[in-house]
Symmetry: C2
Subunit: 232 residues, 2 copies
Protein backbone atom coordinates (compact mmCIF):
# COMPACT_ATOMS: atom_id res chain seq x y z
CA UNK A 1 0.00 0.00 0.00
CA UNK A 2 1.44 3.39 -0.95
CA UNK A 3 1.63 6.51 1.16
CA UNK A 4 -1.22 8.04 -0.87
CA UNK A 5 -3.42 4.95 -0.37
CA UNK A 6 -2.82 5.01 3.37
CA UNK A 7 -3.75 8.68 3.55
CA UNK A 8 -6.94 8.05 1.56
CA UNK A 9 -7.88 5.21 3.88
CA UNK A 10 -7.24 7.33 6.97
CA UNK A 11 -9.33 10.19 5.58
CA UNK A 12 -12.16 7.80 4.61
CA UNK A 13 -12.27 6.36 8.13
CA UNK A 14 -12.26 9.89 9.52
CA UNK A 15 -15.10 10.96 7.21
CA UNK A 16 -17.20 8.00 8.34
CA UNK A 17 -16.73 8.89 12.01
CA UNK A 18 -17.43 12.57 11.22
CA UNK A 19 -20.77 11.65 9.62
CA UNK A 20 -21.79 9.89 12.82
CA UNK A 21 -20.75 12.86 14.93
CA UNK A 22 -22.63 15.30 12.70
CA UNK A 23 -25.84 13.23 12.98
CA UNK A 24 -25.45 13.09 16.74
CA UNK A 25 -24.85 16.87 17.02
CA UNK A 26 -27.95 17.46 14.85
CA UNK A 27 -30.04 15.29 17.15
CA UNK A 28 -28.82 17.12 20.24
CA UNK A 29 -29.08 20.56 18.61
CA UNK A 30 -25.45 21.27 19.47
CA UNK A 31 -23.55 23.88 17.47
CA UNK A 32 -19.99 22.66 16.93
CA UNK A 33 -17.13 24.90 15.85
CA UNK A 34 -13.63 23.68 14.98
CA UNK A 35 -10.99 26.34 15.69
CA UNK A 36 -7.77 26.10 13.68
CA UNK A 37 -4.68 28.31 13.77
CA UNK A 38 -0.93 28.42 14.27
CA UNK A 39 0.37 27.91 17.79
CA UNK A 40 0.00 31.11 19.77
CA UNK A 41 -2.67 32.80 17.65
CA UNK A 42 -4.93 33.06 20.67
CA UNK A 43 -7.41 30.18 20.36
CA UNK A 44 -7.51 29.42 24.08
CA UNK A 45 -7.65 33.09 25.03
CA UNK A 46 -10.62 33.61 22.67
CA UNK A 47 -12.36 30.58 24.16
CA UNK A 48 -11.71 31.66 27.76
CA UNK A 49 -13.40 34.99 27.02
CA UNK A 50 -16.22 33.18 25.21
CA UNK A 51 -16.77 30.86 28.16
CA UNK A 52 -16.92 33.75 30.62
CA UNK A 53 -19.33 35.74 28.43
CA UNK A 54 -21.75 33.03 27.29
CA UNK A 55 -21.77 30.44 30.09
CA UNK A 56 -24.62 32.15 31.93
CA UNK A 57 -26.98 31.84 28.97
CA UNK A 58 -25.70 28.82 27.03
CA UNK A 59 -24.44 25.38 27.96
CA UNK A 60 -20.90 25.32 26.62
CA UNK A 61 -18.16 22.70 26.56
CA UNK A 62 -14.67 22.41 25.14
CA UNK A 63 -12.33 19.83 23.63
CA UNK A 64 -8.67 20.85 23.36
CA UNK A 65 -6.21 19.06 21.11
CA UNK A 66 -2.49 19.21 21.81
CA UNK A 67 0.69 17.22 21.36
CA UNK A 68 1.57 17.64 25.01
CA UNK A 69 0.30 19.25 28.26
CA UNK A 70 -3.30 19.57 29.45
CA UNK A 71 -2.99 23.27 30.09
CA UNK A 72 -5.59 24.45 27.58
CA UNK A 73 -8.48 22.32 28.90
CA UNK A 74 -7.56 23.45 32.40
CA UNK A 75 -7.78 27.08 31.27
CA UNK A 76 -11.31 26.48 29.93
CA UNK A 77 -12.35 24.71 33.13
CA UNK A 78 -10.95 27.67 35.07
CA UNK A 79 -13.16 29.86 32.88
CA UNK A 80 -16.17 27.91 34.11
CA UNK A 81 -17.05 25.34 31.45
CA UNK A 82 -16.46 21.58 31.22
CA UNK A 83 -13.51 20.77 28.97
CA UNK A 84 -11.39 17.77 28.15
CA UNK A 85 -7.84 17.65 26.81
CA UNK A 86 -7.14 15.28 23.91
CA UNK A 87 -3.46 14.38 23.53
CA UNK A 88 -2.90 13.33 19.95
CA UNK A 89 0.12 11.10 20.47
CA UNK A 90 2.30 13.30 18.30
CA UNK A 91 -0.23 13.80 15.49
CA UNK A 92 -0.50 17.37 14.21
CA UNK A 93 -4.33 17.42 14.14
CA UNK A 94 -7.44 16.04 15.85
CA UNK A 95 -9.43 13.32 14.12
CA UNK A 96 -13.11 12.45 14.39
CA UNK A 97 -12.52 9.21 16.27
CA UNK A 98 -10.67 11.10 19.00
CA UNK A 99 -13.71 13.39 19.33
CA UNK A 100 -16.05 10.37 19.55
CA UNK A 101 -13.91 8.73 22.20
CA UNK A 102 -13.53 11.90 24.28
CA UNK A 103 -17.29 12.57 24.24
CA UNK A 104 -18.04 8.95 25.17
CA UNK A 105 -15.63 9.07 28.10
CA UNK A 106 -16.91 12.42 29.38
CA UNK A 107 -20.53 11.17 29.24
CA UNK A 108 -23.07 13.57 30.71
CA UNK A 109 -20.56 16.37 31.24
CA UNK A 110 -20.26 17.04 27.51
CA UNK A 111 -23.70 15.70 26.42
CA UNK A 112 -26.58 17.89 25.21
CA UNK A 113 -24.51 21.06 24.96
CA UNK A 114 -25.66 24.19 23.19
CA UNK A 115 -22.19 24.87 21.83
CA UNK A 116 -19.16 22.57 21.65
CA UNK A 117 -15.92 24.48 21.11
CA UNK A 118 -13.20 22.30 19.58
CA UNK A 119 -9.73 23.79 19.79
CA UNK A 120 -7.59 21.92 17.30
CA UNK A 121 -3.82 21.30 17.60
CA UNK A 122 -1.86 24.49 16.87
CA UNK A 123 -1.16 24.05 13.17
CA UNK A 124 -2.34 25.88 10.06
CA UNK A 125 -1.90 22.89 7.75
CA UNK A 126 -2.63 19.40 9.10
CA UNK A 127 -6.06 19.94 10.74
CA UNK A 128 -7.54 21.33 7.51
CA UNK A 129 -8.35 17.93 5.96
CA UNK A 130 -9.96 16.31 9.01
CA UNK A 131 -13.72 16.80 9.33
CA UNK A 132 -14.73 16.59 12.99
CA UNK A 133 -18.49 16.75 12.38
CA UNK A 134 -18.42 20.50 13.03
CA UNK A 135 -20.93 23.02 11.70
CA UNK A 136 -18.07 25.19 10.51
CA UNK A 137 -14.36 25.76 10.82
CA UNK A 138 -12.98 28.98 12.30
CA UNK A 139 -9.49 30.07 11.27
CA UNK A 140 -7.64 32.39 13.62
CA UNK A 141 -4.79 34.63 12.52
CA UNK A 142 -3.12 37.03 14.93
CA UNK A 143 -2.09 40.41 13.59
CA UNK A 144 1.47 39.70 14.72
CA UNK A 145 1.80 36.81 12.25
CA UNK A 146 1.99 38.95 9.13
CA UNK A 147 -0.46 39.91 6.42
CA UNK A 148 0.78 37.40 3.82
CA UNK A 149 -0.62 34.31 5.53
CA UNK A 150 -3.93 33.56 3.73
CA UNK A 151 -2.21 33.08 0.37
CA UNK A 152 0.64 31.12 2.00
CA UNK A 153 -1.78 28.71 3.75
CA UNK A 154 -4.69 28.81 1.33
CA UNK A 155 -6.46 25.56 2.24
CA UNK A 156 -7.57 26.57 5.71
CA UNK A 157 -8.68 30.06 4.70
CA UNK A 158 -10.62 28.61 1.75
CA UNK A 159 -12.44 26.16 4.03
CA UNK A 160 -13.08 28.25 7.15
CA UNK A 161 -16.50 29.90 7.11
CA UNK A 162 -15.15 32.44 9.59
CA UNK A 163 -11.70 33.96 10.00
CA UNK A 164 -11.02 35.76 13.28
CA UNK A 165 -8.12 38.21 13.20
CA UNK A 166 -6.89 38.27 16.81
CA UNK A 167 -4.71 40.49 19.02
CA UNK A 168 -6.11 43.65 17.41
CA UNK A 169 -4.74 45.57 20.42
CA UNK A 170 -1.25 45.03 18.93
CA UNK A 171 -2.13 46.62 15.56
CA UNK A 172 -0.41 49.93 16.45
CA UNK A 173 2.85 48.07 17.06
CA UNK A 174 3.08 45.85 13.95
CA UNK A 175 2.91 46.16 10.18
CA UNK A 176 -0.32 44.40 9.27
CA UNK A 177 -2.55 45.48 6.41
CA UNK A 178 -6.10 44.46 7.36
CA UNK A 179 -7.44 45.28 3.89
CA UNK A 180 -4.81 43.12 2.21
CA UNK A 181 -5.71 40.18 4.44
CA UNK A 182 -9.45 40.66 3.86
CA UNK A 183 -8.82 40.73 0.09
CA UNK A 184 -6.81 37.49 0.21
CA UNK A 185 -9.51 35.75 2.25
CA UNK A 186 -12.24 37.03 -0.09
CA UNK A 187 -10.33 35.68 -3.08
CA UNK A 188 -10.00 32.25 -1.45
CA UNK A 189 -13.50 32.12 0.02
CA UNK A 190 -15.98 34.78 -1.15
CA UNK A 191 -18.59 33.88 1.48
CA UNK A 192 -16.19 33.88 4.45
CA UNK A 193 -16.87 36.21 7.37
CA UNK A 194 -13.91 38.11 8.79
CA UNK A 195 -13.94 39.44 12.35
CA UNK A 196 -11.28 41.62 13.98
CA UNK A 197 -11.04 41.13 17.74
CA UNK A 198 -8.94 41.57 20.83
CA UNK A 199 -9.84 39.12 23.57
CA UNK A 200 -7.65 41.20 25.87
CA UNK A 201 -9.47 44.54 25.43
CA UNK A 202 -12.83 43.09 24.34
CA UNK A 203 -12.74 44.97 21.02
CA UNK A 204 -14.88 43.20 18.41
CA UNK A 205 -15.80 40.34 20.73
CA UNK A 206 -19.53 41.10 20.67
CA UNK A 207 -19.63 40.25 16.98
CA UNK A 208 -18.03 36.88 17.74
CA UNK A 209 -20.51 36.11 20.51
CA UNK A 210 -23.40 37.17 18.25
CA UNK A 211 -22.10 34.96 15.47
CA UNK A 212 -22.15 31.93 17.78
CA UNK A 213 -25.62 32.68 19.11
CA UNK A 214 -27.06 33.35 15.64
CA UNK A 215 -25.46 30.20 14.24
CA UNK A 216 -26.95 28.16 17.07
CA UNK A 217 -30.43 29.65 16.46
CA UNK A 218 -30.14 28.99 12.71
CA UNK A 219 -29.11 25.40 13.28
CA UNK A 220 -32.03 24.73 15.61
CA UNK A 221 -34.48 26.32 13.19
CA UNK A 222 -33.14 24.24 10.33
CA UNK A 223 -33.36 21.04 12.38
CA UNK A 224 -36.95 21.88 13.44
CA UNK A 225 -37.99 22.64 9.86
CA UNK A 226 -36.46 19.37 8.66
CA UNK A 227 -38.20 17.42 11.43
CA UNK A 228 -41.58 19.02 10.61
CA UNK A 229 -41.17 18.07 6.95
CA UNK A 230 -40.89 14.36 7.79
CA UNK A 231 -44.31 12.63 7.61
CA UNK A 232 -45.30 11.13 10.95
Amino acid sequence: MTEVNVREKVLAANASAARGLRASFRDSGTLVVNLISSPGSGKTTLLEATARELRTRLRLGGLDGDIATDRDAQRLRDAGIPARQILTGGACHLDARQIEAALAEEGERLAGLDVLLIENVGNLICPTSYDLGEDFKVALLSVTEGDDKPFKYPAIFARAAVTVLTKADLLPHVDFDLDAVASQIAALNPSARVLVVSARTGEGMDAWYALLEESLAEKRTAVAVAAAAVPA
Copy 2:
Protein backbone atom coordinates in the same frame (compact mmCIF):
# COMPACT_ATOMS: atom_id res chain seq x y z
CA MET B 1 1.42 -1.97 4.81
CA THR B 2 0.22 0.04 7.80
CA GLU B 3 0.33 3.77 8.35
CA VAL B 4 3.23 3.28 10.78
CA ASN B 5 5.19 1.17 8.28
CA VAL B 6 4.71 3.78 5.57
CA ARG B 7 5.94 6.52 7.87
CA GLU B 8 9.00 4.47 8.82
CA LYS B 9 9.77 3.87 5.16
CA VAL B 10 9.41 7.57 4.34
CA LEU B 11 11.69 8.55 7.22
CA ALA B 12 14.28 5.92 6.23
CA ALA B 13 14.38 7.24 2.66
CA ASN B 14 14.71 10.76 4.04
CA ALA B 15 17.55 9.75 6.36
CA SER B 16 19.43 8.18 3.45
CA ALA B 17 19.15 11.36 1.38
CA ALA B 18 20.13 13.47 4.42
CA ARG B 19 23.33 11.44 4.88
CA GLY B 20 24.29 12.22 1.29
CA LEU B 21 23.58 15.91 1.79
CA ARG B 22 25.58 16.03 5.02
CA ALA B 23 28.61 14.46 3.31
CA SER B 24 28.34 16.93 0.46
CA PHE B 25 28.06 19.93 2.83
CA ARG B 26 31.12 18.65 4.72
CA ASP B 27 33.09 18.45 1.48
CA SER B 28 32.12 21.98 0.51
CA GLY B 29 32.62 23.37 4.03
CA THR B 30 29.08 24.77 4.00
CA LEU B 31 27.34 25.47 7.30
CA VAL B 32 23.67 24.50 6.98
CA VAL B 33 20.96 25.65 9.39
CA ASN B 34 17.35 24.45 9.30
CA LEU B 35 14.97 27.08 10.69
CA ILE B 36 11.68 25.80 12.10
CA SER B 37 8.79 27.73 13.64
CA SER B 38 5.08 28.45 13.45
CA PRO B 39 3.84 30.57 10.57
CA GLY B 40 4.53 34.22 11.26
CA SER B 41 7.26 33.81 13.88
CA GLY B 42 9.63 35.86 11.76
CA LYS B 43 11.86 33.34 9.97
CA THR B 44 12.01 35.29 6.72
CA THR B 45 12.48 38.61 8.49
CA LEU B 46 15.42 37.16 10.49
CA LEU B 47 16.95 35.80 7.28
CA GLU B 48 16.50 39.09 5.39
CA ALA B 49 18.44 40.89 8.12
CA THR B 50 21.04 38.12 8.15
CA ALA B 51 21.48 38.37 4.39
CA ARG B 52 21.95 42.14 4.53
CA GLU B 53 24.44 41.91 7.40
CA LEU B 54 26.59 38.96 6.33
CA ARG B 55 26.48 38.97 2.52
CA THR B 56 29.52 41.23 2.23
CA ARG B 57 31.77 38.82 4.13
CA LEU B 58 30.19 35.39 3.55
CA ARG B 59 28.69 33.62 0.57
CA LEU B 60 25.08 32.95 1.64
CA GLY B 61 22.15 31.21 -0.02
CA GLY B 62 18.60 30.32 0.94
CA LEU B 63 16.03 27.59 0.38
CA ASP B 64 12.46 28.45 1.38
CA GLY B 65 9.78 25.81 1.91
CA ASP B 66 6.11 26.70 1.62
CA ILE B 67 2.76 25.19 0.71
CA ALA B 68 2.04 28.06 -1.66
CA THR B 69 3.53 31.33 -3.01
CA ASP B 70 7.18 32.08 -3.80
CA ARG B 71 7.19 35.23 -1.74
CA ASP B 72 9.81 34.19 0.82
CA ALA B 73 12.55 33.29 -1.67
CA GLN B 74 11.84 36.56 -3.45
CA ARG B 75 12.32 38.44 -0.18
CA LEU B 76 15.74 36.80 0.29
CA ARG B 77 16.75 37.60 -3.29
CA ASP B 78 15.65 41.19 -2.68
CA ALA B 79 17.96 41.13 0.36
CA GLY B 80 20.83 40.29 -1.97
CA ILE B 81 21.41 36.54 -1.76
CA PRO B 82 20.52 33.68 -4.14
CA ALA B 83 17.45 31.81 -2.93
CA ARG B 84 15.06 29.22 -4.30
CA GLN B 85 11.49 28.51 -3.29
CA ILE B 86 10.49 24.87 -2.75
CA LEU B 87 6.74 24.25 -2.94
CA THR B 88 5.98 21.10 -1.00
CA GLY B 89 2.81 20.07 -2.80
CA GLY B 90 0.74 20.38 0.35
CA ALA B 91 3.22 18.65 2.68
CA CYS B 92 3.74 20.37 6.02
CA HIS B 93 7.56 20.04 5.99
CA LEU B 94 10.59 19.94 3.70
CA ASP B 95 12.30 16.61 3.06
CA ALA B 96 15.92 15.87 2.17
CA ARG B 97 15.13 14.82 -1.39
CA GLN B 98 13.52 18.20 -2.06
CA ILE B 99 16.74 19.86 -0.84
CA GLU B 100 18.83 17.61 -3.12
CA ALA B 101 16.65 18.37 -6.13
CA ALA B 102 16.60 22.12 -5.49
CA LEU B 103 20.40 22.29 -5.11
CA ALA B 104 20.89 20.22 -8.29
CA GLU B 105 18.58 22.47 -10.29
CA GLU B 106 20.17 25.68 -9.00
CA GLY B 107 23.67 24.39 -9.88
CA GLU B 108 26.44 26.94 -9.41
CA ARG B 109 24.20 29.55 -7.83
CA LEU B 110 23.83 27.53 -4.61
CA ALA B 111 27.10 25.54 -4.81
CA GLY B 112 30.10 26.09 -2.55
CA LEU B 113 28.29 28.42 -0.15
CA ASP B 114 29.65 29.42 3.23
CA VAL B 115 26.20 29.26 4.81
CA LEU B 116 22.98 27.70 3.48
CA LEU B 117 19.90 29.00 5.28
CA ILE B 118 16.97 26.57 5.01
CA GLU B 119 13.63 28.09 5.98
CA ASN B 120 11.25 25.21 6.61
CA VAL B 121 7.48 25.27 6.10
CA GLY B 122 5.75 27.26 8.85
CA ASN B 123 4.89 24.49 11.29
CA LEU B 124 6.14 23.63 14.80
CA ILE B 125 5.38 19.91 14.48
CA CYS B 126 5.88 18.23 11.10
CA PRO B 127 9.38 19.45 10.15
CA THR B 128 10.86 18.16 13.41
CA SER B 129 11.34 14.56 12.21
CA TYR B 130 12.92 15.31 8.83
CA ASP B 131 16.71 15.59 8.82
CA LEU B 132 17.81 17.83 5.93
CA GLY B 133 21.55 17.22 6.38
CA GLU B 134 21.82 20.41 8.44
CA ASP B 135 24.48 21.14 11.04
CA PHE B 136 21.77 22.16 13.48
CA LYS B 137 18.13 23.09 13.76
CA VAL B 138 17.07 26.56 14.89
CA ALA B 139 13.64 26.93 16.51
CA LEU B 140 12.06 30.37 16.41
CA LEU B 141 9.36 31.50 18.82
CA SER B 142 7.99 35.02 18.74
CA VAL B 143 7.19 36.66 22.05
CA THR B 144 3.61 37.21 20.85
CA GLU B 145 2.98 33.44 20.71
CA GLY B 146 2.85 32.91 24.45
CA ASP B 147 5.29 31.58 27.02
CA ASP B 148 3.75 28.09 27.26
CA LYS B 149 4.97 26.87 23.87
CA PRO B 150 8.14 24.83 24.58
CA PHE B 151 6.27 22.34 26.78
CA LYS B 152 3.33 22.25 24.34
CA TYR B 153 5.59 21.48 21.36
CA PRO B 154 8.44 19.67 23.11
CA ALA B 155 9.96 17.77 20.18
CA ILE B 156 11.26 20.77 18.29
CA PHE B 157 12.62 22.55 21.35
CA ALA B 158 14.33 19.33 22.47
CA ARG B 159 16.02 18.93 19.08
CA ALA B 160 16.93 22.52 18.18
CA ALA B 161 20.48 23.42 19.21
CA VAL B 162 19.42 27.07 19.16
CA THR B 163 16.11 28.75 19.99
CA VAL B 164 15.69 32.33 18.83
CA LEU B 165 13.00 34.31 20.64
CA THR B 166 11.91 36.89 18.07
CA LYS B 167 9.98 40.19 18.01
CA ALA B 168 11.58 41.30 21.29
CA ASP B 169 10.48 44.85 20.42
CA LEU B 170 6.91 43.74 21.28
CA LEU B 171 7.80 42.53 24.80
CA PRO B 172 6.41 45.69 26.45
CA HIS B 173 3.01 45.02 24.84
CA VAL B 174 2.50 41.32 25.64
CA ASP B 175 2.56 38.96 28.61
CA PHE B 176 5.61 36.80 27.98
CA ASP B 177 7.83 35.48 30.74
CA LEU B 178 11.32 35.08 29.24
CA ASP B 179 12.61 33.22 32.28
CA ALA B 180 9.76 30.71 32.16
CA VAL B 181 10.49 30.01 28.49
CA ALA B 182 14.21 29.66 29.13
CA SER B 183 13.48 27.19 31.95
CA GLN B 184 11.21 25.07 29.74
CA ILE B 185 13.83 24.97 26.98
CA ALA B 186 16.58 24.09 29.49
CA ALA B 187 14.46 21.22 30.82
CA LEU B 188 13.92 19.85 27.31
CA ASN B 189 17.43 20.48 26.03
CA PRO B 190 20.08 21.43 28.61
CA SER B 191 22.69 22.34 25.97
CA ALA B 192 20.41 24.57 23.88
CA ARG B 193 21.37 28.18 23.30
CA VAL B 194 18.63 30.77 23.63
CA LEU B 195 18.87 34.16 21.91
CA VAL B 196 16.44 37.07 22.28
CA VAL B 197 16.29 39.28 19.20
CA SER B 198 14.33 41.87 17.29
CA ALA B 199 15.12 41.85 13.58
CA ARG B 200 13.19 45.12 13.37
CA THR B 201 15.25 47.10 15.89
CA GLY B 202 18.44 45.05 15.61
CA GLU B 203 18.39 44.16 19.33
CA GLY B 204 20.29 40.94 19.97
CA MET B 205 21.06 40.34 16.29
CA ASP B 206 24.83 40.57 16.73
CA ALA B 207 24.75 37.43 18.88
CA TRP B 208 22.90 35.61 16.08
CA TYR B 209 25.40 36.72 13.45
CA ALA B 210 28.29 35.74 15.73
CA LEU B 211 26.73 32.33 16.32
CA LEU B 212 26.60 31.69 12.57
CA GLU B 213 30.16 32.85 12.00
CA GLU B 214 31.54 30.88 14.95
CA SER B 215 29.65 27.75 13.89
CA LEU B 216 31.07 28.06 10.38
CA ALA B 217 34.62 28.45 11.72
CA GLU B 218 34.16 25.45 14.04
CA LYS B 219 32.85 23.30 11.22
CA ARG B 220 35.78 24.14 8.97
CA THR B 221 38.29 23.49 11.72
CA ALA B 222 36.70 20.12 12.47
CA VAL B 223 36.72 19.17 8.79
CA ALA B 224 40.38 20.19 8.46
CA VAL B 225 41.38 18.23 11.57
CA ALA B 226 39.53 15.16 10.30
CA ALA B 227 41.20 15.45 6.87
CA ALA B 228 44.67 15.79 8.45
CA ALA B 229 44.04 12.65 10.50
CA VAL B 230 43.50 10.52 7.40
CA PRO B 231 46.77 8.93 6.23
CA ALA B 232 47.71 10.04 2.70
